[in-house]
Subunit: 176 residues, 2 copies
Amino acid sequence: MALEHALLVALSERPAAGLELARRFDRSIGFFWSATHQQIYKVLRRMEDDGWVTAQTIEQSGRPEKREYTVTDVGHKVLADWISTTTPRAGFRSEIAVKMRAASYGDRDALLANIAELIADHRVRQGHYETMSARDYPEPQQLAGHELDTYLVLRGGILQETFWIAWLTEYLEAHA
Amino acid sequence: MALEHALLVALSERPAAGLELARRFDRSIGFFWSATHQQIYKVLRRMEDDGWVTAQTIEQSGRPEKREYTVTDVGHKVLADWISTTTPRAGFRSEIAVKMRAASYGDRDALLANIAELIADHRVRQGHYETMSARDYPEPQQLAGHELDTYLVLRGGILQETFWIAWLTEYLEAHA
DNA sequence: CCTTACATGTAATCCGTTACATGATTAG
DNA sequence: CTAATCATGTAACGGATTACATGTAAGG
């Protein structure tokens, strides 16, 4: 029950149509709350029915029409209320953790190869985040308000990748 | 599509009935793959239908009967095959990250209070893991095989909590 | 007497993924 | 000529949560 709210955040930052939101999700918020376009369309319709957003149909030359969504006063209130409700600690789910524990019941070398790949993946992703951070927030100390928030969320991505690299590396080295 | 496999791991370690599995999940594997008893019962039935496990009804004096499940040869093969398939990088989903980004559209102080609570939560949980680690694995260097695996998964829990504490604290301090 | 623990389940609902569909335009 | 891009969607399915149901026995 939070894709709605993630969409309200994205649309508060800037009104957009479904596909554009899907693309934006792939680049920023989606790092922490992924969603496919199908799901986004479905949820946007429901949000419109509930009066959280309004849609404006925009004609485009040589392209299909798009429906651009804007957050209503109701939507802004829903978002503000949601921010004030307490979020409980998130449950952590990891398939690779289950496999780590299961390694003695299967091919450990295959698992170690899988883990080595994952480490490489996480390094790439961490590099990606760091590039974004250096490019978009060269002077973090100067930031405030919404910009400071987006920066700190990106920092979370970097720290999260650091965690993965550390843990997976520890597993690899213990079995080296 | 992995609760089945988590159950195969748990049942490979030791045969058990549904409720006992639910309890075990709350204490060990469940830290990384949570499940309610309802769901566990449903999945166990399906696994039995598929021949991955067999059930033995056990009468108990003064208590309801229980169905104890054991992994079959087929089940062991399914588990081994699954371990050899590659697991992709897990998508990270965080409601609090969405709220961090949304803070300027609502009551930031309420969010900061929420985050302070979360930090306390994560500290408690980290302490819990560390106690388990010190108690069950006093000499990690000596470990091998399945025990080493369970230790390293627990280490993952500790590192994960470290990540949360670091990130949330960074957010708090940036807004202090 | 009331509550908790034991033990297994059904039903409703929700959230999300995957596959498929349409139809026009632009790039190679 | 083919593939990709823009833009919006439907349909089917599966995983998971929440609420509810049953019945016995021990503990306070």
